[in-house]
């Protein structure tokens, strides 16, 4: 499972790196891509050998995002999972998240940890997303964006719109489809 995910991350990173070398920004595949606003845009015609003068930038891509469907009780919580990749030249860090339309009272970054046979959950300040294809995986039983105090039930077919906050890349939009979620499978075919 773990190995599989690493392989997936690599499989994802290679075409992305290739794409980056061809065009500055091609965002027609539905994935969220952020260009940092504070940095001057790279000149696509610039020779690759002029690298020493390039200002390091973060380039964040979010894939495989999904939010967990909820049973329909009042005041529920849910979690959003995704794979975050940084194909830029500067390290970045996810430091916050917000949801659209007041869907949740609070949104926090949380980690699930097993300690002494106990499952515990705690809020964290953020997670690093290293440069040059580094990834941050938000996954079940691990790191997740936690939606606290939902104002409506999350039903399969819905989409949760959220805005991630990165230290370098700034705001990145993510549309996370609501899914029931899946347990581990013998033949992990890349499902959630």
């Amino acid at each position: 499972m773990r190995l599989n995910r690493i392989m997936r991350a690599f499989a994802l990173a290679i075409p992305l790196l290739a794409a980056v070398s061809l065009v500055a920004c091609s965002d027609d595949d539905g994935d969220a891509t952020a260009e940092p606003t504070a940095q001057p845009a790279a000149d696509p015609t610039a020779d690759a050998t002029t690298e020493p003068t390039a200002v390091p930038t973060s380039e964040i891509t979010v894939t495989d995002a999904w939010a967990r469907a909820t049973p329909g009780n009042p005041d529920e919580n849910s979690a959003v999972y995704m794979l975050i990749t940084n194909d830029g030249t500067a390290d970045d860090r996810l430091i916050g998240a917000a949801v659209d339309d007041g869907l949740a009272t609070t949104v926090e970054l949380h980690e699930t940890a097993m300690e002494d046979g106990q499952m515990r959950m705690r809020q964290v300040e953020g997670w690093d997303v290293p440069r040059d294809g580094g990834t941050l995986e938000l996954a079940q039983r691990a790191n997740h964006v936690m939606l606290i105090g939902l104002t409506k039930q999350l039903v399969e077919g819905d989409t949760v719109g959220l805005t991630l906050q990165f230290e370098q890349a700034g705001e990145v939009r993510v549309e996370a489809p609501v899914e029931q979620g899946m347990p581990m499978q013998m033949d992990d075919d890349g499902g959630s």
Partner: protein, 205 residues
Amino acid sequence: MTQARAAWLALGGVLVAAVLGGVFALVSRGEPYEYSGYAIENSELALDIQLTDGAGEPFVLSDRMTPATAVYFGYTHCPDVCPLTMLELAAARDALPEERRDDLQVLMVTVDPERDTPEVMDTYVSHFDDSFIGLSGTPDGVREVMQEWGIVAFREEGGSDRSYFMSHPSTVSVIGADGRLRLLIPTGLTPEAIAADLLQVMDAS
């Protein structure tokens, strides 16, 4: 005095060795089934404690034994590992041969009875499988079950009165028809591995 004590210790040692040897001989006779979860050697549990089911009716486990009972202690405001565990148990039930599915009952007991009323528990577990039974109770009743079963759960620091988190066990307890604890299932096993373990418990007791 010390000699007598030494003799008792020696006798105790011999007895322990004899029991261990016996267990080993028993286990090594034939190929023993290897559980994916953690096998428990016949731990007796208190089964006569009263909880409350989704309809608000009393639920006493000793009246409701099936060949295998899987009990999970969690809470409904848990967004990650509790729903994942419920999904795992639902998939494991589906992975059982159809004629054996009713030999399994899945119970989720809340460790957070202040917020998880019987109705909330019922809505919660039904989301994952119609056959699952959500159990709540008075805070004292729930505490009694946890104490009797050695279940640890506590409120995490931080959060508010309305929004707080609980720590709770990471494993699902599986009880055989005789009411003894047989197995602890950790999260992360495949549905097929859990189903195989459950069948073993059903057939062993």
